[in-house]
């Protein structure tokens, strides 16, 4: 804790003039932004995400490719051949255009599933933590039970029952990814509930509702947001896993995991341009979200703040 030289009055003596008055007073969010910006990696992550998302969503406007009709006359073209900067794949789709299309799916599913999982998990965990009593153990045993089932097995089962589509993928991934945030938020709620400032507020006659509104939610929100970025990164990986297993969105739609899976078949035929670009893209976007998460964690840590 920093010890600013604020006016400390000795006994009943008149308050001495205090120094350090010229510095402007900034809000918590501003200070958080400063801390975030000090973290180079977080800025790199943010830049990376903006870059990748920009390429995927805006790229197709400038770089037109046909990602619907196969062209068997132009399969496995190497990068640069016949105007395909990254070559073509086994059915003649332009690889660069496909990366953009696949990226859209990956990013949409990742973001949506991550947010869904965070929202459901936060709600579940918060209710369990605040309610306490018998509600808490009952709700948390549900989480434990679901966690004890291997997620891969469930993914396969579900994907076999339903037809994979983008909304379905979001739901499936979201349905399992909320367990982590639920546990995290419940723990957070438990500790926050017993904090002395909550007790101090109760000592003033405040109610439980005020405790949640003014003290518990604002203090838990940092953890939740930080966790959300990691959830997004995880969800993008989940999409990759599912697609890798052949449970992703059906063609002609694409996503990075599916492209990686397809490219794997060509490992030994020297078609490296089918393997590396989607793999590197996945690594980059996951890294980007992890860096952002780290930066946000610092930004929400009040003690790192300063003026």
């Amino acid at each position: 804790m920093s010890t600013l030289s604020e006016a400390v009055r000795p006994g009943a003596a008149p308050a001495p003039p205090a120094d350090a008055a010229d510095e402007p007073v900034r809000g918590l969010w501003r200070q958080g932004l400063v801390v975030f910006c000090e973290n180079r990696l977080a800025l790199v992550g943010l830049g990376l995400f903006v870059l990748l998302a920009g390429i995927c969503f805006l790229g197709p406007l400038f770089y037109h490719t046909d990602q619907v009709h196969t062209d068997l006359t132009a399969v496995h073209l190497a990068p640069g051949e016949q105007g395909h900067p990254l070559g073509t794949d086994g059915v003649g789709y332009d690889q660069l255009g496909r990366l953009m299309l696949g990226g859209q799916t990956s990013i949409i599913v990742g973001l949506a599933a991550g947010i869904l999982a965070t929202a459901v998990g936060t709600l579940w965990g918060a209710v369990a933590g605040f309610a306490g009593g018998w509600v808490d153990p009952a709700m948390m045993r549900v989480v434990d039970a679901m966690m004890s089932i291997p997620s891969l097995f469930l993914f396969m089962l579900l994907a076999a029952i339903v037809t994979p589509s983008v909304p379905m993928l979001i739901l499936i991934i979201g349905a399992f990814a909320w367990l982590g945030p639920a546990r995290l938020v419940r723990g957070e709620a438990l500790t926050l509930r017993s904090r002395e400032y909550v007790q101090a507020m109760r000592g003033m006659g405040g109610t439980g509702g005020r405790a949640v509104r003014r003290h518990i939610v604002p203090n838990a929100i940092g953890t939740v947001i930080v966790n959300a970025t990691f959830q997004v990164a995880d969800a993008i990986l989940y999409v990759a896993y599912l697609s890798f297993l052949g449970l992703g969105v059906p063609p002609p739609a694409a996503n990075w995991g599916g492209m990686l899976s397809d490219g794997l078949a060509d490992t030994y035929s020297g078609h490296w341009w089918l393997l590396y670009p989607p793999g590197i893209a996945i690594i980059l976007i996951v890294l980007a979200f992890n860096f952002i998460g780290d930066g946000l964690r610092d930004a929400f840590e009040v003690r790192l703040r300063r003026r």
Partner: protein, 703 residues
């Protein structure tokens, strides 16, 4: 090994440890803190050197520099550490490691975190032996049991196989001491060894260190913030301030005639000195301001900005320690007047506190006038088993039939060791918890009967003040929101009225308006406590329950807060319930004192009577255990010492709960003694002395 226990070795004896101009820097993210600046100290063989200072003075950094345990970023950047004549900074690393491992031992403040929870006691204590002396397993175990016996552990052959969590705090500290001593070091460094312990345990540990010093013929460096601990134990004292040694002298000399103005101010800031000299409660001298920021370049005397006797010279010239036995670094030292004790400029502190209205109330006045009235209060906590079904495993009896009253404008002190239930009483009184049985009346209204709106309004009458104000403030709220919160909850006034009220509050606690836009983490402990007090005052309560409100503060800051609390009491007619483990602080603050032991009040009476003529053996033991800065105070005590630890509140002893540790206990103590007496009540079958007739016959508590 030499068996010398010489107090003042002749000059010819080489010092065991000598620090010469030691500089230590700690690199942080935002610059470098010069934690030590030219520290020079000597420790003779067999001598106890006390190093005393407030937080941030560099006393712990000195210890860590010697041991080579500086935190990340820390490094000794200049000077010499001469141990037995050899400079640890220039010796090869292997050699230094051996010296530090075998010839020195260190005891840390918190015995829980300094022991590895996954290692058995025996393995842990034997670790230095196995590492440095290559002792075999069986041998090491033998020696471990032996050393545990010597530090006074009961049944050492059993304890070696226990884990740290199975021992109490005092026992753990004994283990930590055994660990430091197992290689028979020449030098023991004890860094705040008793700060985390209760006073009765503290006394046991300090006596143990003293005994072991003689037995092992080793030197001890006792690092502490507590002047009282030093006064009783050390041969010589070094006072540190802002990374420098400002004064060193033999203990008796230093406490009789402090020379440096900082040392003098520190002693005056102790509640003990305010009471001892005048009898009436004088105002404490509080050192204004805060210690300097050590990451900035500093010129002149570092205490100058807070000193009463400062001249322009102090701010410019660099002041070094004077020569001789009694060294001090002060341009305007306290003049030596041989006879008188601490001589003080009179006008500063002769301001007798006014007698609060409460205690003057006659015996005839009915109890209805009291602000708080507690009758036969009981609070049990169910000890739950684990799991979904949560079988109740038993009951923890936290408060067992406590009765007392607090009059308007009165301060009622609650003293006791940790786990005695004093904090629970405080929480019950402010309505944070509901009692299992008994009655709490605020201004004649029973808390139990209130609900909804009335209960909310009740909270206006009584407010809680926390020990750690930082923890008691939402870190995401600015100070204006923090201070406005009680007003919002109680729906007092509109926005403008609240802002005006907050401004008044800041004036009352002596803070400037600018704090409103800042966040709690930007303040120091003393400032936070002021903000906490301002928040407690916001609703204009009649009673404030302070739960260890100054225990986390340094002596000089503590004095500021205590003075402020007394000023506000006088201005606003507040009543306080002042809860503390520190008897001298309670003695200073309280009009009446209640002593708690294991959930029961064992003695209640006027503060002077309880502290100076205690009737319960436990109170007397508590008083005897409090370290005092009066030299030779230890010898004058009538010597009730209690051994052992507080029994578990899960199965408290029947009858008198103190009888398991009481030196006077007899069979009749198995029946519960009632709290008896008129003004000075005691719950004991064998009170130490009859109630003094001078005690005002005010029926304070209802038995």
């Amino acid at each position: 090994m030499s068996e010398s226990t010489v107090r003042k070795p002749p000059a010819a004896v080489q010092p065991l440890l000598e620090l010469r101009d030691l500089d230590t820097d700690i690199a942080l993210r935002r610059g470098t803190v010069h934690a030590l600046d030219g520290v020079s100290l000597e420790v003779m063989p067999g001598e106890t050197l006390g190093v005393v200072g407030e937080s941030g003075s560099g006393k712990t950094m000195t210890a860590l520099s010697i041991m080579g345990l500086l935190p990340p970023g820390g490094r000794v950047s200049g000077g010499q550490i001469l141990f037995e004549g050899r400079d640890l900074r220039s010796l090869p690393a292997d050699e230094v490691r051996r010296i530090r491992g075998v010839r020195m031992g260190m005891v840390f403040q918190d015995p829980l975190t300094s022991l590895n929870p996954t290692m058995r006691i025996g393995v842990q204590v034997a670790e230095p032996l196995r590492v440095h002396e290559g002792v075999g397993k069986a041998d090491a175990r033998e020696r471990t049991i032996e050393i545990l016996r010597r530090v006074g552990m009961p049944r050492p052959d059993r304890i070696v196989d226990n884990y740290p969590h199975e021992l109490s705090g005092g026992m753990r500290q004994r283990v930590a001491i055994a660990m430091a001593l197992v290689c028979s070091p020449r030098l023991l460094i004890a860094d705040e060894p008793t700060t985390a312990l209760d006073v009765t345990t503290q006394r046991q540990i300090l006596e143990l260190i003293d005994d072991l010093r003689e037995e092992f013929g080793m030197a001890v460096i006792l690092v502490t913030h507590d002047l009282g601990v030093i006064a009783g134990r050390a041969d010589r004292v070094a006072v540190m301030y802002a990374g420098r040694v400002v004064e060193t002298a033999a203990t008796a000399t230093l406490f009789r005639t402090p020379r440096h103005r900082y040392t003098e101010a520190l002693m005056e800031a102790l509640p003990e000195s305010a009471i001892r000299e005048t009898g009436a409660h004088a105002r404490l001298y509080s050192i204004p301001g805060l210690p300097p920021d050590l990451s900035r370049p500093l010129a002149g005397c570092r205490f100058a900005p807070r000193c009463r006797h400062v001249t322009d010279e102090c701010r410019i010239s660099d002041i070094t320690l004077s020569a001789g036995e009694h060294q001090h670094a002060c341009l305007h030292p306290v003049p030596t007047t041989p006879a008188a004790p601490v001589t003080l400029p009179a006008p500063v502190r002769v301001e007798p506190a006014p007698q609060p209205a409460g205690p003057t109330a006659g015996p005839d006045e009915p109890a209805a006038t009291s602000v708080l009235s507690v009758r036969a209060l009981v609070k049990n906590y169910a000890a739950h088993g684990r799991g979904l079904l949560r079988r109740t495993a038993g009951q923890v009896s936290a408060v067992a039939g406590v009765s007392f009253e607090v009059g308007p404008g009165e301060t009622f002190g609650l003293v006791g060791e940790s786990g005695c239930g004093k904090s629970t009483v405080g929480r019950l009184a402010v309505g944070l918890e509901r009692p299992t049985a008994g009655q709490i009346m605020l201004d004649g209204t029973d808390l139990a009967g209130l609900a909804g709106r009335e209960r909310r309004r009740m909270h206006r009458q009584v407010q809680l003040m926390f020990q750690d104000s930082y923890a008691a403030m939402n870190p995401r709220m600015r100070v204006d929101a923090i201070l406005a919160e009680p007003l919002e909850i109680q729906k007092v006034g509109d926005g403008a009225a609240r802002r005006a009220r907050i401004a008044t509050l800041l004036d009352q606690v002596g803070l400037s308006r600018r704090v409103l836009e800042r966040y709690p983490h930007e303040f120091s402990g003393g400032q936070l406590q002021r903000i906490g007090l301002a928040r407690s005052l916001a609703l204009q309560p009649r009673l404030i329950v302070g739960d260890e409100p100054v225990s986390a503060l340094d002596v000089s800051i503590q004095a500021q807060v205590l003075n402020l609390m007394r000023d506000l009491q006088r201005e606003l007619g507040l009543a306080y319930v002042f809860i503390s483990h520190d008897l001298s602080v309670v003695d200073y603050m309280a009009d009446r004192i209640g002593v708690m032991y294991l959930g029961k009040l064992v003695e209640v009476g006027p503060a002077r009577d309880v502290v100076r003529a205690a009737r319960h053996p436990y109170t007397q033991a508590l008083i005897d255990a409090v370290p005092s800065i009066t030299p030779n105070a230890a010898a004058a005590r009538d010597g009730i010492t209690i051994r052992g630890e507080l029994p578990s509140a899960l199965n408290p002893p029947t009858g008198c709960r103190f009888r398991t540790r009481c030196p006077l206990a007899q069979e009749i103590c198995a029946t519960e003694p009632p709290l008896a007496g008129d003004g000075h009540q005691v719950a004991c079958h064998f009170p130490l002395r009859p109630e003094s007739s001078a005690a005002p016959a005010r029926a304070g508590a209802v038995a």
